[in-house]
């Protein structure tokens, strides 16, 4: 079948393009310009070539921050996606409790990021925080001093804040499955696992792709919550890429290296997002 292509519709996209140009493309171009120069302020720049890129690529500090970032992102993905799907499966499909569950699930998403950080900062304080006190009655816990405890708190905070998003998306996917599918499965005597594997999971696939991509990109660029909770500490234990970037750009005012690091950071996000998207959309065409 021959499809008629009408590319004139692309002109409708022009206003959006203009908007994106101002809030993304022009700033990005400026970052590229900064990344090859050195400045001491006053809009005076000195061309340095690719030296900042080389410096960032060979810096242990960057490697360590990237390693922490990847660890953080893949840990929270490994927890939030299965947990979100499990909660969505456990939620009622109709009746009064649906709204109650949805409101409860939406609550963490409505809290501003810096407030989430502040809540968990106080909640986890080893001497006066509820979580800190409870944990300290079983074991020794101090997130301001022990790197392991800081990581535990950071991951717990992210899971608390963002699993809801996965739940809501997965739940929307589940709600779109007609009852006839379940009835057919019942007639065939399908086990709960088979229902999940062959009915619910395939129907949730598209929303789960969105959930994984959103959670991946957001967690890879996370700044506010860990900055408020631990400030990257103790030491550098929870200094993720964005926190390190802000330290270099605004703390040390090294705009050149910070710009080079931003571009490398951006390329990594772009590559990983593309890989995720491509792998998950594979075979979508035939369905």
């Amino acid at each position: 079948m021959d499809k008629t292509w009408n590319n004139r519709a692309w002109f409708m996209v022009l206003p959006v393009l203009a908007l994106v140009a101002f809030n993304a493309i022009i700033p990005l171009m400026t970052v590229v310009n900064y990344s090859v120069q050195e400045t001491f302020g006053d809009n005076v720049f000195f061309f340095e070539g690719v030296i900042w890129f080389q410096q960032v690529l060979n810096s242990d500090r960057f490697h360590a921050a990237l390693g922490r970032q990847l660890t953080f992102t893949f840990t929270i993905l490994a927890i939030e996606i299965p947990l979100g799907v499990a909660i969505a499966l456990a939620m009622p499909r109709r009746g009064f409790w649906v709204s109650v569950c949805l409101v409860l699930m939406a609550l963490p998403l409505l809290i501003p990021w810096n407030v989430v950080g502040a809540i968990w900062n106080i909640f986890s304080l080893p001497d006066i925080g509820l979580l800190g006190r409870v944990l300290n009655s079983f074991t020794h816990y101090n997130y301001t001093r022990e790197p392991g405890d800081a990581w535990f708190t950071l991951i717990l905070m992210d899971v608390w804040h963002w699993t809801s998003l996965v739940v809501l998306l997965a739940y929307a996917g589940l709600q779109s499955i007609p009852d006839a599918f379940y009835q057919a499965a019942k007639i065939d005597g399908a086990s709960p696992w088979a229902v999940f594997r062959y009915i619910q999971l395939p129907k949730m696939k598209r929303v789960l792709i969105i959930a994984v991509l959103l959670r991946f990109m957001d967690s890879f660029m996370i700044y506010t919550e860990p900055a408020v909770l631990t400030g990257g500490g103790p030491g550098n234990a929870t200094t993720l890429l964005s926190i390190d970037l802000v330290k270099i750009a605004l703390g040390q005012f090294d705009l050149g290296p910070a710009a080079a690091m931003s571009i490398i950071y951006f390329l990594i996000v772009l590559l990983l997002s593309w890989i995720f998207y491509t792998v998950m959309m594979r075979g979508e065409g035939q369905q």
């Binding site: 022009i26 590229v32 310009n33 400045t39 690529l57 594979r282």
Partner: protein, 93 residues
């Protein structure tokens, strides 16, 4: 409004100019000989010409970064490698 705050250099201007030219060239190519329909290549994924340009550009960025990090700042070799890579992507992916 001046553009001094953007801190342009001729090198970066050339870089963006080449990318803009590539986009224009892709458009002209598509008009001259339409072939944008998706096809399945060695990676087993469906790609259009635009996708292949994206894969080429992203791959080239990483080839340059890898060269810079592992070999040295003489990036002409990386550019040559990227061109070969891009041709391969357009031919087989």
């Amino acid at each position: 409004m001046g553009l001094t705050w953007m801190a342009w250099t001729w090198q970066t201007a050339t870089f963006f100019g080449v990318i803009a030219l590539l986009l224009v060239a892709m458009t002209v190519w598509e008009f001259a000989s339409p072939g944008g329909a998706p096809r399945r290549g060695v990676l087993g994924i469906e790609t259009t010409r635009g996708d292949r340009l994206f894969i080429s550009l992203l791959g080239s960025a990483f080839i340059h970064l890898a060269w810079l990090g592992l070999v040295g700042p003489d990036l002409w070799w990386a550019l040559g490698l990227s061109l070969i890579y891009a041709v391969a992507v357009f031919r087989w992916v």
